[in-house]
């Protein structure tokens, strides 16, 4: 059944589509600043990601073939679709599929070129997806167990914060966020610092504006992930924001204390401890 979208919903969609990349870029800027302070450096200004994006769009567009450009655009479009679905409180399973397809587009773009580093990065990205997707599905299952609905909007109908009913799932979700943001020890497919291992992995063959598109999609993704963290305390926005800040700091400390580990280690870890915690949480919710 297709419902008609009224004017307020259009405004919400437009505002979230415009605001999400700005929030993502600010988070990325804060990330670089706080990381620099943790390492005893001064660090770039907080609006550095904006400069980077503007610079990338003023560079010469270089691509190996047209399909590669299409995949970069699809990556961005499906990430924007996820933001639209979340803003409208749509089906969480649909959001998961759109998000997964967006990542798959990035993988296809990486695999479509004859560059060994790009292909290694793409293969590792698939392993990363394999590592975090079960946790995202289990979170949706946990929401369904409590509200009897797969709609993202149904979360708001819960009287108590989601964190009280799914604390272990929250911890697992933080690991998934660390993977999605490519933080150590999970930054196997591409990395923000020290590009020695596979140079820049999955985005190595993108240059200029096309790299900018992928960066913007990454900002959308960051905003989505932090919005979901905020959803864990949906009753009070301020406490939700505090929770978000704590999660942000925890991920940065994780990033700065660990070195990059192998893909197999990541998969073994994610399929043992976080998955076990998530299933324990689900069993507890089911038996309650």
């Amino acid at each position: 059944m297709i419902e008609k979208i009224n004017i307020t919903q259009w405004i919400i969609i437009a505002v979230s589509l415009v605001a999400a990349p700005f929030i993502g870029a600010l988070i990325a800027g804060l990330d670089r600043k706080v990381t620099a302070r943790m390492q005893g450096r001064k660090g770039p200004p907080v609006i550095q990601p904006f400069y980077d994006i503007i610079k990338l769009f003023s560079k010469q567009p270089v691509a190996l073939h047209k399909l590669q450009i299409l995949y970069a655009f699809l990556h961005l479009v499906f990430m924007m679709l996820v933001v639209v679905f979340l803003a409208m409180g749509q089906d969480l399973l649909m959001i998961l599929f759109a998000h997964a397809f967006s990542t798959i587009c990035l993988v296809l773009g990486g695999m479509s070129v004859r560059s060994p580093y790009s292909r290694i990065g793409s293969l590792r990205k698939i392993m990363q997806m394999l590592a975090y997707e079960p946790i995202l599905i289990l979170i949706i299952v946990a929401i369904y167990l409590q509200t009897d609905s797969f709609l993202a909007g149904s979360v708001m109908s819960m009287s108590k914060p989601m964190l009280w009913s799914m604390p272990l799932l929250f911890l697992s979700f933080l690991c998934a966020v660390a993977i999605k943001l490519n933080k150590s020890p999970f930054d196997v497919s591409t990395s923000h610092h020290a590009h020695q291992e596979i140079v820049k992995g999955i985005t190595i063959e993108y240059a200029g504006p096309y790299l900018g598109i992928i960066e913007i999609a990454h900002f959308y993704e960051t905003a989505i992930l932090f919005f979901i963290i905020m959803m864990f305390w949906q009753t009070n926005l301020y406490i939700g924001f505090g929770l978000e800040t704590l999660a942000f700091l925890a991920i940065l400390i994780l990033d700065n204390t660990f070195s990059r580990l192998t893909t197999t280690w990541m998969l073994k870890y994610m399929w043992s401890i976080p998955l076990f915690l998530s299933i324990a949480n689900i069993i507890w919710l089911w038996s309650k």
Binding site: D52, K55, K59, Q60, P61, V62, V199, Y206, A207, L211
Partner: protein
């Protein structure tokens, strides 16, 4: 906002035939003491993402093609910074049997940073100068290539005869 190019220069670093002195000094610029990231400078390993190419060491027959290839892969606008005295004259390697000599024989150079190795301050200064040129290149102004601080080293007659003498000695 419009001079964003000069606020996020991403640097790719290519070692031609250096003794690694310049490379170590250049990496020292990333440490907390100098912290080039505060200017938005990122040290990346991929020429396709880079704006500034930093070359260290003199060019030889093997790596001239590689250097040309790396230069061609950087999307426009781009600048080249030649670090150290080897890049302008061949340095201590000049006159060696395998050395072609200075970097601007192969690619156009915008800034030469002299020194063996240059101090990190000089390196940061060189990159900041290069960034100014990058901004002017983006606006479409043509910028002349940099004057070399030293002329190319040519082995004198005596030295070349000495070399042949040593060779003859070895063969005997």
């Amino acid at each position: 906002m419009f001079n964003a190019v000069s606020k996020s220069p991403w640097v790719v670093h290519f070692n031609c035939n250096s003794c690694n002195g310049c490379d170590i000094e250049f990496l020292a610029c990333l440490t907390p003491h100098y912290d080039v990231e505060r200017f938005g400078i990122l040290h990346i390993g991929n020429p396709k993402h880079a704006d500034v190419l930093v070359v260290t060491g003199s060019v030889n027959n093997r790596n001239a093609r590689v250097l040309q290839n790396v230069y061609n892969q950087i999307p426009d606008p781009k600048v080249v910074v030649a670090m150290g005295v080897c890049t302008s004259s061949g340095g201590v390697f000049a006159g060696c049997y395998n050395i072609l000599g200075n970097v601007d024989l192969v690619i156009p150079v915008d800034v030469f940073v002299p020194g063996c190795p240059p101090r990190p301050e000089a390196m940061i200064d060189g990159i900041v100068k290069a960034v100014g040129i990058l901004e002017r290149k983006r606006k479409g102004e043509i910028f002349p290539t940099a004057p070399k601080p030293l002329c190319k080293f040519k082995p004198s007659e005596e030295q070349s005869t000495e070399k042949t003498a040593i060779k003859e000695e070895k063969t005997v």
